[in-house]
Amino acid sequence: MSWITLDKINKLKEKFDYVEVVENDKGFHSVEVPKENFKSFLRFLKEDPDYQFKMFIDWTIIDHGAKADPRFQGVLILFSPEYRERIIVKTWATDETLPTLTDMWAGAKWAEREAWDMFGIKFEGHENLVRMFMWETYPHHPLRKDFPIKGYEEVELPSLNEKERADQLEGLQNYSRMHTALPTLEDLEITQKKRMPNKKSQVVLNWGPLHPGTHGTIWFLFDMEGEYVQECDIIIGQLHRGVEKLAENLNVQQIIPYTDRMDYIASINENHSVCVAAEKLLGIHEKIPEKAKYIRTMMAELSRINSHLLWLGTYALDLGALTMFLYTFREREKIMDIFEGITGARFTINYFRVGGVYADLPYGALDAIEHFLKDFPTRLKDYETLLTRNRIWLRRNIDVGIITEQDVYSYGLTGAVARASGVPYDLRMIDKYDAYGEVDFDVPVGEKGDSYDRYLVRIEEIKQSVRIVQQCIEKLRKMSKNDPFFYEPEDKKMKITIDGRGTKLFKGEVYAGADNPRGELGVYIYMPKDGIKPYRFRLRSGAFYNLQIFPKLMIGRPIADAITILSTIDPVVGETDR
């Protein structure tokens, strides 16, 4: 497991007497540090040759309830690329403030804005601490425990209640006329101004929130000097639905359908992250039946192909190659057919469960997948002849949006974006969850970290996924139809059901996740005691942190590069906003 060993943690304690070690029976040990020593301790962790925790993963808050004092706790997750280990460092946010980490990791910038937005924690020294998802004049901090799950219903919104001939719905299923707060145009203007406090030119170019090129509802602000971008900022949150808040009121199997709606292009992979994390918290990840492991690996890789095909199609479409879009959608259609047959849904799949999958493969499933794989490589070759060495493609991609290795660590970039910059960071290799330890595949890494490398890395990933799926099919063919696909706990205290009723989580904390097409979707679950509902359910979104580097890449580039850079970063708004 890619976690810091108890040995190394104890050495930290010897060195700094203020460090408190929190041991965890599943191996996810963490350390607690007082706020005053927090920064100096982190500097040591980052720079000491024995630790080298230089990669930023996540930085978030736990609310311990209105009665607790101090109430809020900061949780920082770091990764050491040298030793392939993770660590959790915690600190108490006394007076509801914390020191900013933006001077050590650029990725903390958005993380801190999100923490301010959702919990109301002030970060001392942050350059522009504005809200992340909500508009600037919004009065509440929704992830605090005292914020009701329904929100405060403050405004009247009659249009939602229109009914034919004033026909009333009886009982509870009528809609309330009151709605939670909504931003007005003035609110949006204030938000926009605050995001770009030192704009230089007269006109700020707005791109989005509803523009086909933004692949969702992202709102870009460009401060232009002629064709060139001087400053850039992003307003997201139009699709924010508060999945983390919702998750705190559900059992873990019920959370899975909500994650379908995050990265809706690769919903299987989102499900996968939650399953892996919850299983690790329960300590059963190793005991999941073999069949379920292989089915999950196979489906996750098919979903990766599916997602990359959509990315390739829309990316080429944005750069002017319309036919690519039609070709990739043809292949996607077949994968969607396979998903529909196996799982029951084409898009919002909800097939994986904590403990396995909800049903065995239907008759003919493996044949259908094999049939798809048979002519897929030739199709992929077609795509490559159209694009890879096409001069327009080369011109528009090479040397556009170069991300260095340093950026990857500092911004916490993951997925194909990190790998294209030469960082072989892949959870499938590092964590070896499910059957990834038993199948053979290569992790593609790029050289320069420009858009062209990101393109090549994703194309290679598709090829590797095909390899993984083939190996899984081979393995599954040898199994019996009576093999279990769902884990039956031996432990009396544990209860896991396919439909989710009564599924319990154990006391403890865990950070785990899966490598998704859009980066690492990590799930951090914190449970102060055994229970059904997770106390804190943090979703560390890969797309969110990857998008954060966009302004940096855009500065000094012509506006036309915005399309290329955004497409190769490939965020999905459902996941950035959650």
Binding site: L169, D337, E340, A345, N350, P362, Y363, L386, I398, S480
Partner: protein, 233 residues
């Protein structure tokens, strides 16, 4: 397992001079495009041509009626919940509300049972019947958890996906409508989805392989379906 290096000059060669002068990259691309001119149409002419959803498809819900294919423990459940033993054609629902408990959005359901108003010597005295079962499908996310929770396989997903309505009222279905939807679905496709104990059999197919509309999307060359596992028929 290893690391594969990709990049220009690594696995992709830059354009050569000949390629640049004679526009060979465009020629190759055009060849691919022209090849596609002679392919058959792969799109379906909706709504004149419809792809039949897979048996497992999670469409709008239905409430199954008693038809002789109940699970073995059906009677025990009926007894346990003090429900009037349903006759042929009456709903299988025993008002246990397991579906509501499993649902991430429990407000979808309104389930009520009521005591039968019969004299004391009547055999059904003290027993209950389902009086209300409303589902507001506008809030549903078709996740399928309710159908997995139902002990009597009463609530099921059908293959109907068009639930558009001009008003929100149209998405609230009551127990009569739901029963009708289920009856209709079972008559059409029950044999494909369930065995004679209402379980999903292992011969349940990924999709109907005789469906010509679906075959179109597979380049008119649909896969031949066969068993998955070594010991499957």
């Amino acid at each position: 397992m290893g690391i594969k290096k990709v990049g220009l000059n690594r696995n992709v060669q830059p354009q050569t001079i000949t390629e640049k002068i004679f526009f060979l990259d465009f020629m190759k691309g055009l060849k691919t495009t022209i090849k596609h001119l002679f392919r058959k149409v792969i799109t379906v002419d909706f709504p004149f041509e419809l792809v039949e959803p897979a048996p497992r498809f999670r469409g709008i819900h239905g409430l199954r009626n008693v038809d002789g294919t109940e699970k073995d423990d059906f009677e025990a459940w009926v007894k346990k919940l003090k429900i009037k033993p349903p006759e042929m054609g009456e709903t299988r629902c025993i008002g246990c509300k397991f579906c509501q408990a499993a649902c991430p959005v429990p407000e979808i359901f309104i389930i009520k049972t009521e005591k039968l108003d019969v004299p004391e010597d009547h055999p059904h005295h003290g027993l209950k019947v389902l009086s209300q079962f409303d589902m507001d499908l506008s809030k549903c996310m078709f996740c399928g958890l309710c159908t997995l929770a139902c002990p009597t396989i009463c609530i099921i997903h059908t293959d109907i996906y068009d639930l558009s309505s001009y008003t929100r009222r149209g998405w609230v279905l009551n127990k009569e409508t739901l029963s009708k939807i289920a009856d209709d679905f079972i008559a059409r496709r029950g044999k494909e989805k369930y065995d004679d104990k209402s379980e999903w059999p292992d011969w349940q197919k990924i999709w109907d392989d005789a469906d010509m509309a679906r075959a179109k999307a597979w380049d008119n060359n649909p896969p031949k379906l066969g068993p998955n596992y070594a010991d499957q028929q």
